[in-house]
Symmetry: C2
Subunit: 457 residues, 2 copies
Amino acid sequence: MFSPAVEYARQNQPRFLAELKDLLRIPSVSTLPQHKSDIERAADFLASQMRTIGLEHVEVIKTAGHPLVYADWLHAAGKPTALCYGHYDVQPPDPLNEWTTPPFEPTERNQNLYARGAVDDKGQMFMHLKALESLMKSGAGKLPINVRVLLEGEEEVGGEAIAKYVKENPQKLKADFALVSDTEMYAPDLPTLCVGLRGLVYTEVEARGAKVDLHSGMYGGAAPNPFVALAQIIAKLKDENGRILIPGFYDRVATPSADELRSWKSLPFDEKDYLEHEVGSSELTGEAGYSVAERTWARPTMDVHGMPGGFVGAGAKTVIPAKASAKISMRLVPNQNPEEIFKRFSDYVKSITPRGIQISIRQLSGADPMLIRTDNHYVQAAKDAMKEVFGKDTVFIRSGGSIPVVADFEKNLGIPSVMMGFGLPDDNLHAPNEKFHIPNFYRGIESIIRFFQLLSH
Amino acid sequence: MFSPAVEYARQNQPRFLAELKDLLRIPSVSTLPQHKSDIERAADFLASQMRTIGLEHVEVIKTAGHPLVYADWLHAAGKPTALCYGHYDVQPPDPLNEWTTPPFEPTERNQNLYARGAVDDKGQMFMHLKALESLMKSGAGKLPINVRVLLEGEEEVGGEAIAKYVKENPQKLKADFALVSDTEMYAPDLPTLCVGLRGLVYTEVEARGAKVDLHSGMYGGAAPNPFVALAQIIAKLKDENGRILIPGFYDRVATPSADELRSWKSLPFDEKDYLEHEVGSSELTGEAGYSVAERTWARPTMDVHGMPGGFVGAGAKTVIPAKASAKISMRLVPNQNPEEIFKRFSDYVKSITPRGIQISIRQLSGADPMLIRTDNHYVQAAKDAMKEVFGKDTVFIRSGGSIPVVADFEKNLGIPSVMMGFGLPDDNLHAPNEKFHIPNFYRGIESIIRFFQLLSH
């Protein structure tokens, strides 16, 4: 005995998949200027879908960057309001020669749909629309709850437009919770809700020594070397046990609850397999005494991403460069504050800068860490809906990454996000042969249908 | 009362300068393949000069790289034999827009001749030929001593051909000493002989962590970071007082003699001026308790030249790169041995490599440190000749750089080098607006004439 909406979704699966393929054929790569018209085409495609479904106030909103797409349906008096978020832009497809089939020609193989954007995030965003269509068409043009949809076209390039829009339009976006489908399931067939995100402080530290590049024969031993200085600084940021040495860095770090830690322990995790097949290094690193889940979800960390400057060609050039930089980021956890951490980082780096070196520190990006209470009504309904669809208990996990818009929703709209994702760990996000497991596309649509239905009671 | 040879040199100054300009017009840039025919043109130009002078066995010697040019005159029975060395290749002239006049159109301004190669080394090498011409033409076709000339065309790209040739032809190059004019005077008008060179071990250290690039959100805290590992390694190579921490690194370091240290103290050196106008950093670095001269001439050091890998573009990319490298060199002093130091370096780096990281270390180039005894007959004669020409006592200095061919001459031919250079500290070697002070060109020719004459007594 399925609800008519689920029945509708099942009967229309082939068409839903065909329409998703149409969307995936549009190469809406946000970082490349030559795809600007494709971005606009994708936005128009989605606006048109929303009109067909019966959503109202459909609007393609111009911004300083790529457009937002908005729609709503607000006639379920007394019922909660969902804000459905997704992004229709995609990563560049390079390297092209590593794709088995072309990135913008969606192809089915082994129950998977291969295409750039299949899972990140066109396929997942499209589940929201197809769930709304199923509810609307099977429910005499009515939805069980109120809904706003807000889609962005520049998530892969920083998401500045949506951050600004959310900040400036809290009334227009008034809702009770956000639904975000841009995360992963912990394992195949395991219904998963993500309830925590790490934050980020990403910096560029520039060290200047001499006023011009110098010959290391003539000046080596008297002139300061910016790379040596940066190495000395970095070595003092983190000890060899993975502990960060910035004074006060851990002051606000919250320990996960005993319940949460217990539930992480029961997740199907094989450390040997993770080491050998995911990371592939000789051993894992990080803080002793913490599990991999804790180290990547609940502990802050520091990484260096690149060190521009000096001579990087083949062979031996004996230059003492006038300057060198390090791209250094820190992942934060609740309740660390990016502004405070950036200040602590800057103060500490300045205090340990070797003599002869002038340092300048810029913050390039940042995001708040997030923790969603699992006892809230919306998370509980999502958990029940997924359990029903998958026939298995839903697990709560966190992600080590950052989704800045989730913090924006909390800060500016005062609402929690339900991060209900249907990707799989081997879906090749940002890499060649990105895919979406087709049964998950359908189960995602059904989970959202049931989620919204449960919220209407 | 000048010697006829000096008289000849003075009368022919305008022609000597004009011929040097002809040589400087040939853009014999050894590193750029498109200048291969210019390299050959320069070699032929010099061979032709040698024939005109009256040298014998003139030969343009083909090598795996650019040609050597050889000639000799060996009829001064019972007199010593000089091996005159120079290089006719030049550095690329970039950045072109910073030249006041074009690099290959030699131009006189303020008693200076501006052109790429003016002082490094075409102008200095040409002094040798013009001194030989003056002696030969004023001496009825005879030289006061025996002479071999050996010029190379790839000094700026590593000098492999000459190293091989010297090793394989010790009999053909048999001589009592080498004359090398590829160094600087300590100050204008101060006759200078360079009697020491630092050696070099130049390495590339590659650190590998994960098998592929990873996302720092997902894996930060568990996956090893090659840049952090390299920073930790570099920070353990040298402490913040400039002391190198490789075990046994200083074992063979010879302290300069009391005489040498005393003479360095009497050199006209203004540390404030050096800091402000040459280095331009906020302060000088290096080992406490040593003068700048000691730190750059008589103490070994370590520098990092570049750290390839990871993300070096603008903005924030959150990658944990699979690998990163560091170009690390050490300058050596007598009696350190490059092979031994490379082994000590490698063993130490391996011993301090953080867990999770696989390290590989390659040596890219090397050179022996050199110290020339100042009490030898040839150095003493050179000192007297320069004093006579400049009217001032000749000073002995060392250089912090490396001239590998000087070690090759000692190792394979068993002869010391007289490093008699006439460049000035502001001659812009390897930079735009390279110049040669024209009075130094003439005084160089006279110094060499007098040097060879003194050796014939």
